[in-house]
């Protein structure tokens, strides 16, 4: 090789593992996103939950965080033919909120929707019969129940090995990342250290395996600028740890999601609803679509 060719290559050597921005952009386009089943929510997320990143979703009790978590665990399994990833999910339950009856309901509704779509679009495509059964979907969700922060840390450490053995896992949902860190922590410095350790490991996991990590968080109150306001739990240093942060809140009579923090997405809000089928477009969006 001539010197002209070698010198640029030599300059890159100390940065093994680094990528150019151009390559990253190209890669981003290759990684599909996981749909939330709500059009508006997908839109503000740039198409859905991004793989290779950690997204934190927080809100008051009853907002639908667990619902969204379960919806994503189901939607990641949507076959590639239907625009999904055809992958599997890991659901880490720290609070015991994972109700199998609900997972079954959401899985059934997902298959119904796909079958309907099949009927509408593929009338001429005979071979495209959907052979999925709700039990198949439940089979592809790996459920871990974590009972203490020690187990949570141990699991976070173990995930790398687990995912290397189950390469088709493309989403890891932690419901909620907060629970075990809110009880009886006398040493707040320790808590901050442990949480940032977990955050770094999860980010590494997301990047290396090209999967989405979704962390569900709770809310707490904080005294800011003369009044009590709601804020996501776990403190200020934690809020720096996640790549993307979405807040679920009530706006009048509708549920809304707000992109609070993201390096690539605009700050925006979108309405969504929780129905018997899972997360769906809000009623007002449905009306708008019907009128169009």
């Amino acid at each position: 090789m001539s010197q002209k060719e070698v010198v640029p290559l030599l300059m890159l050597l100390p940065f093994a593992g680094a990528q150019t921005a151009w390559d990253m952009l190209h890669e981003d386009e290759m990684f599909p996103r996981i749909t939330t089943s709500c059009l508006d929510l997908d839109n503000i997320l740039g198409g859905g939950i991004n793989c290779k990143e950690v997204t934190e979703i927080g809100g008051v009790p009853g907002m639908g965080k667990t619902q969204l978590g379960i919806q994503l665990a189901v939607n990641v399994q949507i076959p590639v033919d239907y625009g999904g990833l055809g992958a599997k999910a890991i659901y880490i339950d720290t609070e015991g909120s994972f109700m199998v009856e609900r997972v079954l309901q959401i899985a059934e509704a997902c298959i119904e929707d796909m079958t309907e779509c099949n009927g509408l679009l593929r009338k001429d495509f005979q071979a495209g019969q959907l052979k999925m059964h709700p039990n198949n979907i439940l089979e592809n969700i790996f459920y871990f129940r974590v009972c203490s922060y020690t187990e949570q840390i141990a699991l976070t450490n173990y995930l790398d090995k687990f995912i290397s053995e189950h390469k088709d896992v493309k989403v890891v949902i932690v419901d909620s990342v907060t629970f075990h860190f809110r009880q009886d922590f006398d040493d707040m410095a320790l808590r901050t250290r442990l949480l940032s350790g977990i955050a770094l490991k999860l980010m590494k996991l997301a990047k290396e395996h090209g999967l989405a990590v979704v962390l569900l968080n709770q809310v707490t109150t904080k005294y800011i600028e003369g009044s009590f306001q709601l804020t996501l739990a776990l403190g200020d240093s934690w809020s720096h740890s996640c790549t993307n942060r979405v807040i679920l809140y009530w706006n009048g009579n509708e549920r809304y999601a707000y992109i609070d923090k993201s390096p690539s997405l605009r700050s925006a809000s979108a309405p969504y609803s929780v129905t018997s089928k899972g997360i769906r477009n809000s009623a007002s969006t449905c009306k708008r679509i019907r009128m169009m």
Partner: protein, 413 residues
């Protein structure tokens, strides 16, 4: 699993000895330190530390199962796939069978609305033989405020299941399965709770009721014992003598007052029941029984947090707007508790009609059922719930509801 001893994990001898020498005894001790801290403390290389941590993590990590196997297990091993039917058809349908096993179900509402009545009925249902839809088991009823009435329990039983209760000896057998315990203090409760965990399985306990959780916090302040005395005096219909030295509020406002007194005295409001919440949840899960907890209400304070900072910046809504749902009552125990319960049933009164609302539930739509308290306990006036939109499902109303009811359901004016 957190307390698993390092010595039992099977690490290579050399590194296990170093851990012991540095007094890192349990997995919790080891995993509470970062890899860098361990490197420094143990004076070993990075590779050794990471491999030791990976080994410990793999052992301590909880096992996994597929959601399918979880479901199959429940369907196979548990009554109605893990539900206690309440006998209220609309509610049972909304909850996919009834009060779920393994999680906390909360009943919250103003005083006298029917929370204890509901708990009495549930206790009965859990003790009934399975041929009558019961769990055929024992019940532990933690009666913090001395509201349990065995007379009323038998009445509900006799009116709801006359075929069983009028049989010789059945009333005694059924009520003999319900163990009522009145803790005298929070520490006594804490201690007993730990003992309960051990004996649940052996004693075939199929339901745990804590009536009420809020009273454990506010009721056990030094005003609590006075409050209890007043309540028992009322039930005896004796005149009450207020000690001159202590200003006492009306009974209905007691929890507000105790709450505000606590704040004044600087008693930390943050998670006073933090450990208990975690423990009770793990108890429910470990034993796969339903745990029903009642909660009280308090007035919403004017500086109550109800918006996120981005909402404040964007719309600069005044605080008055947030009273627009017409409710000034909120559940006691705060948002941390609200996150911890899996199912929240709100009992409220609106324009004199009582409603049971499924306020928080991962498996139900936000439905409201009108109900009444009759001789046979709670009964729904309609099994088709009204679906509510918006945050109103979480609001607690107390309009046209007088605080005191007698057991035949007539209000005392």
């Amino acid at each position: 699993m957190a307390n698993k001893l390092i010595s039992e994990i099977g690490l290579p001898k050399s590194i296990a000895n170093i851990f012991a020498a540095r007094n890192i005894v349990t997995a919790k001790d080891a995993l509470s330190l970062t890899e860098f801290q361990l490197m420094e403390l143990l004076d070993v290389g990075w590779a050794e530390v990471t491999s030791a941590v990976a080994h410990i993590s793999a052992i301590v990590c909880p096992p996994y199962q597929s959601a399918l196997s979880l479901m199959e297990q429940r369907v196979k091993n548990e009554h109605l796939a893990g539900h206690l039917p309440t006998g209220l058809k609309g509610l049972d349908e909304a909850l996919c069978g009834g009060i779920p096993f393994g999680v906390l179900t909360e009943l919250v509402g103003p005083a006298g609305i029917g929370k204890t009545q509901f708990c009495l009925k549930l206790s009965l249902l859990a003790s009934l033989p399975s041929s009558y839809g019961g769990l055929d088991g024992h019940v532990i009823y933690i009666d913090v405020e001395s509201k349990f009435s065995s007379r009323r329990l038998i009445e509900i039983g006799a009116k709801s299941f006359p075929e069983i209760f009028l049989m010789k000896g059945m009333a005694k057998k059924m009520s003999g399965r319900i163990l009522v315990w009145r803790p005298a203090s929070l520490s006594e409760f804490t201690e007993r709770l730990q003992q309960i965990k051990v004996s649940l399985h052996q004693n075939e306990v199929k339901l745990l009721v804590i009536d009420s959780m809020a009273a454990l916090v506010s009721g056990f302040s030094r005003f609590g014992s006075i409050f209890k005395e007043i309540k028992s005096t009322i039930s005896l219909a004796l005149p009450i003598v207020f000690p001159k030295s202590l200003p006492l509020p009306s009974i209905a406002n007691f929890t507000d007052w105790a709450h505000s007194r606590e704040c004044e005295q600087g008693i930390p409001r943050q998670h006073p029941l933090g450990w208990h919440v975690s423990f009770i949840k793990s108890l429910a899960e470990f034993s796969r029984i339903p745990i029903v907890v009642t909660n009280q209400v308090r007035s919403q304070s004017s500086d109550e947090a109800c918006q996120f900072s981005f909402q404040v910046q964007r719309w600069k809504e005044t605080k008055e707007d947030h009273a627009r749902y017409g409710s000034h009552l909120v559940a006691a125990l705060g948002v941390h508790w609200a996150h911890a319960v899996t199912i929240r049933l709100v009992l409220e009164a609106k324009s004199g009609q009582r409603f049971l609302k499924v306020s928080k539930s991962p498996i139900s739509a936000p439905l409201a059922f009108p109900f009444d308290i009759t001789a046979s306990g709670m009964s729904l006036l309609s099994d088709d719930g009204i679906e509510l939109t918006g945050p109103d499902i979480n609001a607690i109303h107390s309009q046209g509801h007088s605080d005191i009811i007698n057991f035949t359901g007539e209000s005392l004016q």
